[in-house]
Symmetry: C2
Amino acid sequence: MHLIAYVNPCGHIFCRSIKNITLMALSHALLAALHSAPCSGYDLAKKFDGSVGFVWNATHQQIYRELTKLEEQSHVTAEVVQQDNRPDKKVYKVTPAGEDYLRVWIAKPIVMSGKKDDLLVKLFAGDLVEPSVILCELEHHRAQHQDLLDTCKSIEQHIFANVSPQDLQRRYRYLTVRQGVRIETEWLAWCDEAIAFVKQF
Amino acid sequence: MHLIAYVNPCGHIFCRSIKNITLMALSHALLAALHSAPCSGYDLAKKFDGSVGFVWNATHQQIYRELTKLEEQSHVTAEVVQQDNRPDKKVYKVTPAGEDYLRVWIAKPIVMSGKKDDLLVKLFAGDLVEPSVILCELEHHRAQHQDLLDTCKSIEQHIFANVSPQDLQRRYRYLTVRQGVRIETEWLAWCDEAIAFVKQF
DNA sequence: ATCATATATGCACTTAATTGCATACGTCAA
DNA sequence: TTGACGTATGCAATTAAGTGCATATATGAT
């Protein structure tokens, strides 16, 4: 098997095999979620309490398929857990090999994925329709961003109110919540600006 | 052919055929770009002057393939234009049918696509690696957001400095640039917050 | 001459994402 | 006892997206 070595801009050296590497991002998101708390596919699909669901969304079908793949690659192990009054569940946790796989991926610098935003594309051709149509869509989106912001703020206050400086994992996760709070706040502000703008027409 | 009627939250009625509809988002982005200015695939791939490239990114291969499809569906027409000192180019423009297709799509309320961010996933498992690795990645991203912000600000000043209130198309496009300015500014601020945070470790 | 760069377009192949279905156990209510 | 809902998992098929390669003309530099 061929190996290739990289040096990232900070001088960290890492390597990976050229073949049989899936760069599929969902696998990393699942491993990151399982790293912080072992759980079942169903749990992952529910995007529970401030977890990775907020930074990477996927359907349950994608998640189950990917978990099966990760198990085949020995990046996770599964344990069937019997429950009262509920179907059995398979609880997954990350293996040391899975952690290595994550470490390699984290150290590899990535180019920001380009923006892909339906709403902005709509605005681009907004003059084709009545302003009220655009206004409606803007208000629809505003409501969605408001919901997200409320959720992020709630997580910020309840989960990360009193985190000890030693709890590195939680402090890193806190940063992702902060991103949600900041960006959603700004999205809301932009929506308001855009709504006011369109109302002039 | 079956038809289905919708009423969006603002009371606008619209309909579309159930079959043979591609909801593929790239086609809408290309139509929106061509709507504001007919041009070639090459031009579209260059993401020129404040155009749709900033709100929807794609490779030239995707763009050429999609343009061919759009031509087959009669949503665009192509005209071969001979040039001096350069290969011929095919200039595409949107047909009335293409405009209708865009109008229907614009009027259809869309659910915000879920967030998918590699950097945040990395932070989620940040405790697996040395803080300097995360710091490096944060600074790398900060630079990318700074570039984008500079570009957006430049477009804001040069293209939209003196737009007449009557120029609806340009005023809508101005809103997309404003979104870029606002969100990238906030991304930068978050990067700074995160960098300061990680430097404590 | 040859090489790099810019313009201009496209096919073939592979991988990822989405959609539609299918299954099964349990609770609670009509 | 049927039907709706929540928990829990998954396959099959399709569609979209991404990667790698190929081609051609023209300019300017070495």
